[in-house]
């Protein structure tokens, strides 16, 4: 009999199942490995005083209190600027600009290019504009503003997608009920688009809080307690970078700081989706 062996459906099914599962296992495995590495090396250093005191001996000893505060301030400045601008731009793009209009395409293309620009370029741009030209110097304000420039493209596109994913039916039926565009926007589209908005927000905060290149050139790396937004302030990721690259014997605290950063990211991620869910359930009642 001729050799006409055919891969049975059962066997090919088995292969693809294996492939899919091992790909997923690989990704999860890497994440767990990194997490385990950080936790195992960093957990023993974590204490209340580590979180609240100033660093000593260039970070080899002492805590990360001022660094935490600076990080939160930088992120707050970033969000305070990028949220309103991002939301307004997303509304303009999705609700007031036809998808194929020249203006819309131009803005969207610019945003896509901007979101691909390496962060170091944003860092140098922020240094030239905010620190030098606008005279803000190395400060938390400059850092936050530069970060805002960096996360805006991401935030706008995610929010715009959120608005676009709201079915056209809602807009038509609201219009047929004589509802104005603005109240349709506030009462209907905004609640319905919130999941997209939250995704954009979480991604933005994640990028902002983990950013180093942008902040080295704008908010600087002074690790004292910041007294105002005009002070230079060192963020968590810069602290990690500095400890692991420039300070011999800083590894232990670098691990501990990484652990704080990872936990912070997880907490932000979970609380924002929890809040969105709660808020959403009050406003939007799906099945």
């Amino acid at each position: 009999m001729a050799d006409t062996r055919i891969l049975t459906p059962g066997r090919s099914e088995w292969f693809s199942t294996l492939a899919v599962w091992s790909a997923a296992a690989l990704v999860t495995g890497f994440f767990l490995w990194v997490l385990w590495d950080i936790v195992s090396h960093g957990f023993s250093q974590i204490s209340w005083s580590f979180l609240t005191t100033e660093s000593e001996k260039a970070g080899r000893a002492g805590g990360i209190g001022p660094v935490l505060v600076s990080t939160l301030l930088v992120v707050l400045v970033c969000l305070a600027v990028s949220l309103p601008i991002g939301l307004a731009t997303a509304v303009l793009l999705s609700e007031y600009t036809p998808e194929d209009s020249l203006f819309g395409r131009l803005v969207r293309r610019s945003l896509d290019v901007l979101s691909g620009v390496p962060s170091i370029v944003f860092g140098l741009f922020g240094n030239a504009l905010f620190c030098k030209a606008l005279g803000m110097g190395f400060s938390i304000l400059s850092g936050g503003l530069t970060l805002a420039c960096m996360v805006l493209p991401l935030l706008i596109r995610a929010t715009e997608e959120g608005f676009r994913s709201v079915p056209l039916d809602y807009r038509t039926s609201a219009a047929a009920l004589g509802m104005s565009r603005s109240s349709t926007l506030f009462h209907l589209l905004l609640p319905a688009a919130t999941p997209g908005l939250v995704v954009g927000l979480v991604l933005s905060i994640g990028r902002a809080i983990a950013e180093t290149a942008v902040l080295i050139f704008t908010s600087g790396y002074v690790s004292r307690w910041p007294e105002s937004l005009m002070d230079s302030g060192r963020t968590l990721s810069i602290h990690i970078y500095d400890l692991s690259m420039n300070v011999s014997g800083g590894n232990a605290n670098a691990y501990a700081t990484s652990l704080v950063l990872v936990v912070l990211l997880l907490v932000i991620n979970m609380t924002s989706s929890w809040m969105a869910e709660r808020w959403l359930h009050r406003r939007i009642v799906l099945l």
């Binding site: 039926s173 004589g178 104005s180």
Partner: protein, 275 residues
């Protein structure tokens, strides 16, 4: 012929006759162009006050497009241009200085697919009312209750007003949409195949509801169901595709259209041999 002078159409076979004298909506040479296609042209139609007028005809002949002109939903469609005249209660509604939001309040619309908002039942009813300036809690409550009662939905939903509107059945959703439109006390209701997405039972309920709207509202209903048109409509307008765009080929009292149509196309459509 014994037609009462109070212009209330008696539910008799003669009812269509009492509708005719009081024209409420009138179009003259109405034409709608999309970017590269003419949806319909040359439509001149009078719609009697308090009557149910059915628009029938094969798919793609411009019936739904015609409806969307009457409450200027066409404004939302990029590159749609409406030419001609539409008068509602004697007022030209295509002018630049027409308050479109007020127009849509007076000319409500029900869509083919029930489209409640993804909100609670209460919020669905409340939102348009608040939009039009009703903010008093007690007034909101009484108007919402009245509207839900008028569509026979109150008893079915009164215990779950804060539940999701999308959890209702298709027929209930459609009645909710009708109630939502009725809270704004419109003069006119445009209905775009309101029963076609519903099962026969719900369809029957909604149909009875539409019949109950006669005399109180001027109803224009698009339907593919000729039997339904014959059952509920006072007058019928037949649309047809000619030379690539929709046209109105005949209109008149239901009885006349179904029994003695003048246009041969109407005759063949009615008899089921065309369309």
């Amino acid at each position: 012929m014994s037609v009462s002078p109070t212009s209330v159409c008696p539910p008799s076979l003669d009812r269509e006759i009492c509708c005719a004298p009081n024209t409420y909506i009138e179009t003259q040479n109405l034409r709608l162009d999309y970017k590269s296609k003419t949806a319909f042209q040359d439509v001149s139609l009078s719609v009697g006050k308090g009557c149910i007028t059915a628009l029938v005809g094969p798919s793609g002949c411009g019936k739904t497009s015609f409806l969307t002109c009457l409450n200027r939903l066409t404004d939302l469609i990029p590159n749609a241009t409406v030419t001609g005249v539409i008068k509602v209660d004697g007022q030209d509604i295509l002018g630049r200085n027409v308050d479109v939001l007020q127009l849509r309040r007076r000319v409500g619309m029900i869509f083919q697919k029930p489209n409640p908002f993804p909100l609670s039942i209460w919020r669905n009813m409340e939102l348009p009312l608040r939009e039009h300036g009703v903010n008093d809690k007690a007034q909101l409550k009484s108007e919402i209750e009245a509207a839900l009662k008028s569509v026979g939905l109150w008893d079915e939903v009164k215990d779950r007003l804060n539940g999701p509107a999308l959890a209702l059945s298709g027929g209930q959703q459609q009645r909710l949409c009708i109630a939502r439109a009725l809270t704004l006390t419109p003069d006119v209701l445009l209905m775009d195949e309101p029963c076609s997405a519903l099962d026969p039972l719900s369809s029957g309920i909604v149909e009875d509801l539409i019949i109950s709207l006669r005399n109180r509202y001027t109803v224009i209903i698009v339907t593919h169901n000729l039997a339904q048109a014959r059952r509920i409509a006072d007058s019928v307008a037949i649309f047809w595709v000619q030379d690539g765009s929709g046209r109105l080929i005949e209109s008149g009292p239901t009885k006349q259209i179904f029994e003695t149509p003048t246009d041969p196309l109407t005759a063949s459509y009615i008899s089921g041999s065309r369309g």
